[in-house]
């Protein structure tokens, strides 16, 4: 028999490692053609950090995003990024990028002021160019700046870093601690169908909504939710190295027997919701959230199975065997 159930789950996802004192650095180089290379150490494993950090650089430099290329593979000269973990990159790295952009602007403005024999304060950086307000002679497009710099003794690289305050201990009495990271808020609503004779669970539909500060790139936010859901489905329903845990018998040795969900296992209906409440710790209010999109479906699936069958299953993954045993108990 097939039984359907629905449920909702809510999660708080701490991002930025609660201030474990992990820095990120960035550098931005002006190239002879007036475009820029953003140099970072951030590993982009598909989450889109290269894209959003280019967005932040373009915004901070007030130039078109096409004029910014990114290099996160600069090997032994790469700036440090402690890592793509703790959903920290969107919260921490943009600070380093903005600082690098400010540093580069200072250098270019100083160089232009020297060329024009004016005080640096008289030089404005805007609109992909530098100029002295009200003096038509003293204006250079960024292309002209790039060319000009080639003939000077300056290497135009701005650098920046961001070092969040190190971790503070919990108060032993109250458990309170200083919030130096940011928390994102997620919600999932799922509908499942449980086959009570085979224990198979079909996740029919999923709605996931996230409050994430600022959706720097709404498309990649949705893709993070899609990807996180796939990880969550595997976590909730299938992925297990030791099917007879704590017995080590039949430990999985190959991916052939390690079941990650396929596209066929994906729910037919997925809806995304994004809510933005700017976070004070982020640039433009941005904070991370993505890892939470893999955890939030799990408890909703478990609760929906309860709604469908009246049985609480408190172990994951809910393999067909686990489900059938629980239904029998």
């Amino acid at each position: 028999m097939k039984k359907r159930g629905k449920a909702m789950s809510l999660v708080l996802h701490p991002t930025g490692n609660k201030g474990a004192g992990d820095p990120s650095q960035a550098a931005i180089a002006l190239r002879p053609d007036g475009t820029f290379t953003l140099i970072i150490g951030t590993a982009d494993l598909g989450q889109g950090s290269n894209t959003i950090l280019r967005q932040f650089a373009a915004d901070a430099l007030d130039v078109p995003i096409e004029n910014i290329s990114v290099n996160n593979q600069a090997g032994n000269v790469a700036p440090i990024c402690t890592g793509s973990f703790a959903s920290r990159v969107t919260l921490i790295d943009p600070h380093a990028v903005v600082n690098a952009a400010d540093d580069l602007k200072d250098k270019v403005v100083n160089w232009a002021a020297g060329m024009w024999e004016v005080a640096p304060e008289a030089v404005t950086w805007a609109d992909n160019s530098v100029f002295v307000e009200g003096d038509e002679e003293k204006t250079m497009t960024m292309t002209e700046v790039g060319e000009g710099v080639v003939g000077s003794a300056e290497l135009m690289i701005g650098t920046g870093a961001w070092y969040p305050a190190p971790f503070t201990e919990h108060d032993p009495e109250t458990g309170a601690m200083e919030s130096v990271g940011a928390i994102s808020f997620g919600c999932a609503v799922v509908e499942v169908e449980v086959d009570t004779e085979t224990g198979l669970i079909d996740v029919l539909s999923v709605i996931q909504v996230w409050e994430l500060g600022k959706a720097v790139n709404p498309l990649t936010c949705k893709q993070q939710i899609n990807g996180g859901l796939s990880v969550g489905l595997g976590f909730a329903l299938a992925e297990s190295c030791h099917p007879y845990y704590p017995d080590a018998a039949h430990a999985v040795e190959h991916l052939t027997d390690y079941y990650v969900p396929t596209f066929a296992d994906y729910p037919a209906e997925i809806s995304h919701g994004i809510e933005e409440v700017p976070h004070p710790a982020g640039v433009k209010g941005a904070k991370g959230f993505s890892e939470g999109s893999s955890t939030v479906p799990i408890s909703a699936i478990i609760s929906a199975v309860h709604d469908a069958t009246g049985v609480w299953i408190t172990e994951v993954p809910l393999t067909p065997e686990v489900v059938l045993k629980a239904l029998e108990a």
């Binding site: 004779e197 299938a238 007879y244 999985v252 066929a264 296992d265 067909p320 065997e321």
Partner: protein, 283 residues
């Protein structure tokens, strides 16, 4: 894999000569979807590979009251073939549920049978359809019913010098159905699978074949369960009783995919569903 000999004969005669010459030193290579994982996982080192993909064994045709499928026909061919859809739709149904597009494009029906996995999907429905296989060697040929073909996991009655040429399905192929239970909806070997064929006289069963996979060292025909149906009107109660009897013929084991307990429980449901589907009862 060093120093493995590779032969790609262009006709059946050559292939059979090579097999006769090399005997146990030769390993037949069809789609490679069972063989290559075996090489990678279990350090199987064939001495000589004989590729049989160029022998023209990928035909599907009707002849002499039988559906004849060349051993080189792929899962994709079978699931797309109009003749299969018309004469043995349950076979197409099984082919649709195997592996992924890539493995279905490469894997062959001959490989599925010769590999003799107790969990193989095409195998279990072919067993229910009372298929026979045509084996050839340079010395002659013989036909073996599938129910006599498998002797153990990975083992068949085929001799080293024999090639599986063709699968022969007697027509009409009754009212048949295939059910598979895997660990996800695609790219999964069967935890348990079932094929059934019913001959129906109105609503009375005049003959039944029930085949079960992943429940014993070989794919299984469940004759005691089959007999329970003959001469009876099929209803839900009889189907449930028969499914339990079919599964009782098995001797399932615990493995990475499921426990024996689970195979028995869920297997009963799978057989019942296949029977109900073939009998046209219920949803």
């Amino acid at each position: 894999m060093e120093n493995v000999g590779y032969f790609a004969p262009s006709d059946v005669g050559q292939a059979l000569e090579l097999l006769a010459e090399q005997g146990s030193k030769a390993t037949v290579l069809a789609g490679g979807t069972d063989l290559v994982p075996a090489i990678n996982y279990y350090s199987l080192w064939p001495e000589n590979l004989i590729f049989i993909g160029a022998l023209g064994l990928d035909y599907i045709k009707e002849e002499g009251g039988k559906l004849l499928i060349g051993s080189g026909a792929t899962w994709t061919q079978i699931l797309e073939d109009p003749l299969v859809a018309e004469k043995a739709p349950a076979l197409a149904q099984a082919a649709r549920q195997g592996g992924s597009v890539a493995t279905r494009n490469a894997g062959t029906v001959g490989g599925n049978l010769a590999n003799a996995s107790p969990a193989a999907d095409l195998t279990v429905i072919l067993l229910a359809l009372e298929a026979e296989v045509l084996l050839k060697s340079s010395a002659g040929k013989r036909t073996v019913a599938l129910k006599d073909f498998f002797t153990g996991p990975g083992e068949t009655v085929m001799n080293d010098d024999e090639l599986l040429m063709e699968v022969q399905i007697p027509l009409p192929a009754g009212s048949a159905a295939f059910q598979k239970l895997g660990r996800r909806k695609a790219m999964t070997l069967s935890v348990v699978n079932a094929g059934v064929k019913l001959n129906l006289d109105g609503d009375t069963c005049s003959g039944a074949c029930i085949a079960l996979g992943a429940m014993a060292p070989t794919p299984l025909r469940c004759s005691a369960a089959e007999e329970m149906l003959v001469g009876k009107k099929l209803d839900a109660a009889l189907i449930a009783e028969c499914a339990a009897a079919a599964v009782a013929a098995g001797s399932p084991i615990d493995d990475q995919r499921a426990s024996a307990w689970y195979r028995t429980k869920a297997g009963t449901a799978i057989v019942a569903r296949a029977l109900a589907q073939a009998a046209g009862i219920g949803g």
